[in-house]
Symmetry: C2
Subunit: 637 residues, 2 copies
């Protein structure tokens, strides 16, 4: 029953061309709908006006319709008197011009000369102030061409041209089948191993954005017979079927075998990353696409392949996205085996676009949320060096990127809060943050990738915060240090502190599992400073090498029972319902180059963190001291 | 009862600010909806993850979950044997990692060593190939901020983060009331003086594009009581009301008085053109906008004012549209009384954008269909000289403009046909034409505003077509002349030729009304050539000074009975059901600078007019000879 199918490695364009050629027989279907229901629909044929607009000669002014020859002798010195009915009729704007008259004289140029009479003091030329029949639209004139996406203004012109029904391409029905034994509906009580189905919901929203009508089917377990039945049903009920295949080899096979049995699997595997295991098949002349399970792989297969198909069914081609030139901040290696799509965060700093590659994991849904653009690394290229200027396909409008304050550096949940508040205060501004630790932030300032760097770096010798690091990492740069908050760092432990962890020495106990922050972060430095002072060997701490990138991630590891303790801020512990054993106070400040201090966006940001609203949020979170928040505490020129 | 309202002349920004301040109390309402129904909706508050994703430590590979300490001594020379259950369990990608294991070794690095045993030859480090809990999303992490328009990828991340319901701004309900005694529904048998209502349909499509729910009410006659009743009902049933006031003074008053009586008319008149007579009022704390009747005025009031309001109800601000720099082809005068919006057609010719102002009449719905952008002339500026570089707000994507072939010159209905066909052949290409007559086209070639100029200019001395004009108007330019068609020109007369018009002499008859083409057009030249040859005085022709810009417009004037005869091509007469008396054959050719002949778009155009499909269309229209169509008949270097 099962035919063996080999994974191919076609280039993307070649694969799409092959597939579309196989699908060649599919004819986009059309339907006639009322013009006023046609917004966003695509014309199947050119539309020509059925009537002229205006459909009669009409007055362009309030005044009188007159005979121009009767006015020929009128001048300042020789007023001419016109008589109603005989020489003129009164007309308002839009009124029809009776056949016997050939011009309109506007009310401002008339002198009342008794009942039913006007005096005029200048001659009128034929057709003056008349909107002739067809001035706007002439019968038989082209209004919109075929394959044109109808806009509101087109609806107006079509109706004005007497077109009350238009022939448009049908919106294809797209069936979406989620599969996988481990896949559960959102809202299900989660067991370990369960994966919530969200891909099918993203697909539904995508295809509906592309103009088609999605139907999402129930989740199908990994069972050949059930998958086959689901595919048969979806093929019957739709024009296009998308099946969200699992990501492991075994599960993919089910899908590919089902497509092969019911129809024809044309392509299995395309040289793109992520997205390689895509399947493209045909059943009963209808396309079926097997979308990989990982969300990021799924995204690129949807955008690069499914989208073109859904649009083609409506007579449309995908428009080229807008692009910008940007400098890439990190080296990007890539395989010669694939065309690679790298999600990037874009910043507009000091007059140039800066692109920072986001995590390349195929499971990272947040990287899709955070991406502002996509860098395509061609199959023929092995990698791109940091600092290279590259072309980025935009996902976020340029205008928004240019109004986004970039914050790269140490993580604290209050940066998210500030991001939300600044946009609430002034809708044009946004804040985008990346958590790379305090030293990473200072390096990003040095290379001009960020507007500001949140930092809490403890000088091991002086015990002073931040200043010595600015001098060390950014010599010769004019940097201001703006007070953000003083905050409490401490041990985050399970509710009730079951392992009774109260001091650094406890971390070396056999029964204690620790979870650490990444190198370069201020919190890691704080740990190392204390371990060093207490002469505790790092190797003695179980979990010292397990690194997380945010306070929240550390708290989550403790909350889940994976670890017994981590070092972090009070607010993160409180959010996760953990107990907190204070270790010290520290200064969490913002390093901002002097040149940005007077920009509108930085000033708005400083106003934001000075605001009562922000302080209220800090009080809600707890563990923050905002006495000097927003004050410039150091300025070096 | 009626309070007198004066027309004000506030600046646009000032008026909007004033109005929004008065509306200050309106609170955008919110609602909770299911996340998977939230595409395109706007978050009312920041959304933080409810659960981590993955919500357990999971395998990133197919392989075995093992204890890293058991692998420490493994090397190429010292294989270590692991036993199932004790040292490892088999895991697939996505499977949970049991608490006692801390790393995953992938299947490629395992050597089968009998039942339930694997040999390994390298050590594993803790957390290798494990996707830790929260790797993608950590509980309490910000997923999307407030006032964020939810995209398909956001839906995925929200569901992954355990958010199955989101609080979003309600889509405002917008009531739309068309008014006017002369206004009739589309499809009504038209009487002279009737105006089809299409504005309300355009408004509905616009507000729905902006995310709100339109309700269009029946047309209300110009009757104070009826307008008042309609407004009361609409205010009750909606969040925002748009009333399409008539354009004449009397009718506006009804609307303004009704608003004044039921609530508060805050602004009546804004210093914009078109759009000046806009009204902004409040009734029961709900905004009501009186939109002027002329479609173009209505369009700018909708875009510049109503749009901001509809978006504000959803917590959004209007995004700045994309802009390009372009050279303006014609002088644009403007009043110091207004901020003026000028619709322009954009072309991309020889590496620069060229903006040609479209007709400025407020009734020109086709100018909205044809516009690619808008030039704003500031109130402080009296005009802009031809050739000035200006900033244009884009209505058409840049990509489309760059792929549009510009044709400026003589009109023939077949240019519309070719426009439709070239886009059908290759979806990326478009053709845009402007009818300015043959000589206008040659001037546009000279100034670099067009890629080609259709032309049919008869040399009065030699009787030869086009060539002498190329030499005269474009000396020193390398121009190719491509044969388009030979076509028949003649008199267009009413069916049955009731006035028996057969020769130029007949045009001077007292009982004959003529309709002419504009100066500079080839057809006008043809007329003048013949009149001159026959020594007929133009002053003797009744209607010689009535000018239309296209063959179709001339045909429409004859068809309506406004004129008895016009000169034009056979196809236009046939389309309008007119009789046609041939006068001569003429050569309708395309002048194309040599530099464009090898561009992809010009080559595609020439293939289009050579195609059988095009010839079939010409046969349908009749009156065209396409023997040499597409052949270069003259090339001068």
């Amino acid at each position: 029953m099962m035919q063996k199918v080999y994974l191919s490695n076609y280039e993307l364009d070649e694969a799409i061309k092959m597939y579309f050629e196989k699908l060649g027989e599919f004819n986009p279907q059309t339907e006639k709908i009322r013009t006023w229901d046609a917004n966003g629909r695509v014309t199947a044929s050119a539309v020509f006006a059925a009537i002229s607009s205006p459909h009669y000669n009409s007055s362009a002014m309030d005044g009188i319709a007159a005979k121009s020859e009767r006015t020929a002798s009128a001048s300042d010195r020789n007023h001419v008197i016109l008589t109603e009915g005989e020489d003129y009729v009164v007309v308002d704007t839009g009124d029809p011009i009776p056949r016997e008259f050939d011009c309109v004289i506007m009310i401002e140029d008339l002198i009342k000369a008794g009942e039913n009479k006007f005096e005029i003091y200048q001659s009128a030329v034929p057709w003056q102030n008349i909107r002739p029949l067809g001035e706007d639209i002439v019968e038989n004139q082209l209004i919109v061409p075929s394959r044109h996406k109808i806009r509101p203004v087109d609806i107006g012109a079509l109706i004005a041209g007497g077109i009350n029904e238009v022939e448009v391409f049908k919106r294809p029905r797209v069936g979406i089948i989620p599969t996988g034994t481990e896949i559960v509906e959102p809202g299900t009580e989660l067991k370990v191993g369960d994966i919530i189905d969200f891909n099918s919901r993203t697909f539904s929203a995508q295809v509906s954005d592309w103009g088609s009508i999605p139907t999402r089917y129930p989740i199908v377990k990994d069972d050949y017979g059930k998958i086959k039945a689901a595919v048969q049903k979806a093929i019957e009920e739709n024009d296009i079927v998308l099946i969200n295949a699992g990501s492991s080899a075994g599960r993919e096979d089910f899908t590919s075998y089902v497509i092969g049995e019911l129809g024809n699997l044309i392509i299995h595997g395309v040289a793109i990353k992520p997205g390689k295991p895509v399947m493209m098949g045909v059943i009963n002349n209808k396309p079926i696409i097997g979308i990989p399970g990982y969300p990021v792989s799924a995204y690129f297969v949807m955008e690069e392949i499914a989208r073109k198909l859904v649009l083609a069914y409506q007579g449309l081609e995908a428009e080229e996205p807008a692009k910008v030139k940007a400098f890439i901040t990190r080296r990007c290696m890539s395989s010669l085996k694939y065309l690679e799509f790298v999600r990037v965060k874009l910043g507009y700093v000091a007059g140039r676009y800066i692109a920072t590659p986001l995590t390349r994991g195929a499971g990272a849904t947040m990287s899709l949320v955070n991406a502002d653009g996509v860098l395509e690394i061609d199959q023929s290229i092995e990698g791109i060096e940091a600092g290279t200027e590259v072309e980025i396909k935009l996902l976020t409008p340029e205008e928004k990127i240019k109004n986004t304050l970039i914050s790269i550096g140490s993580h604290d949940p209050i940066i998210d809060i500030a991001a939300d508040l600044i946009h609430g205060r002034n809708r044009k501004f946004f804040l985008s943050s990346a958590n790379v630790g305090s030293t990473g932030g200072l390096m990003a300032l040095k290379t001009g990738e960020t507007h500001m760097a949140p930092t809490h770096l403890l000088d091991m010798e002086s015990g002073e915060y931040n200043l010595s690091y600015l001098k060390k990492y950014l010599p010769g740069k004019s940097i201001c240090l703006v007070k953000c908050v003083n905050r409490i760092q401490g041990f985050m432990v399970k509710k009730g502190n079951p392992k009774n962890i109260t001091k650094f020495e406890d971390l070396t106990r056999e029964d204690v599992k620790f979870v650490n922050r990444q190198r370069g972060s201020g919190t890691r430095l704080l740990l190392d400073y204390n371990l060093n002072k207490l002469k505790i060997e790092t190797g003695k701490i179980n979990g010292y090498y397990r690194e997380e990138f945010t306070h929240l991630a550390v708290a989550a590891a403790v909350e889940s029972g994976d670890a017994d303790a981590g070092l972090g801020v009070y607010s993160a512990a409180a959010m996760m319902g953990l107990d907190f054993i204070p270790v010290c106070n520290e200064e969490y400040d913002l390093a901002i180059p002097e040149e940005y201090m007077e920009t509108e966006i930085v000033k708005e940001f400083i106003e934001t963190i000075k605001s009562q609203e922000f302080k209220n949020k800090l009080d809600e979170l707890g563990g923050y001291d905002y006495t000097n928040t927003g004050r410039t505490i150091y300025q070096r020129s």
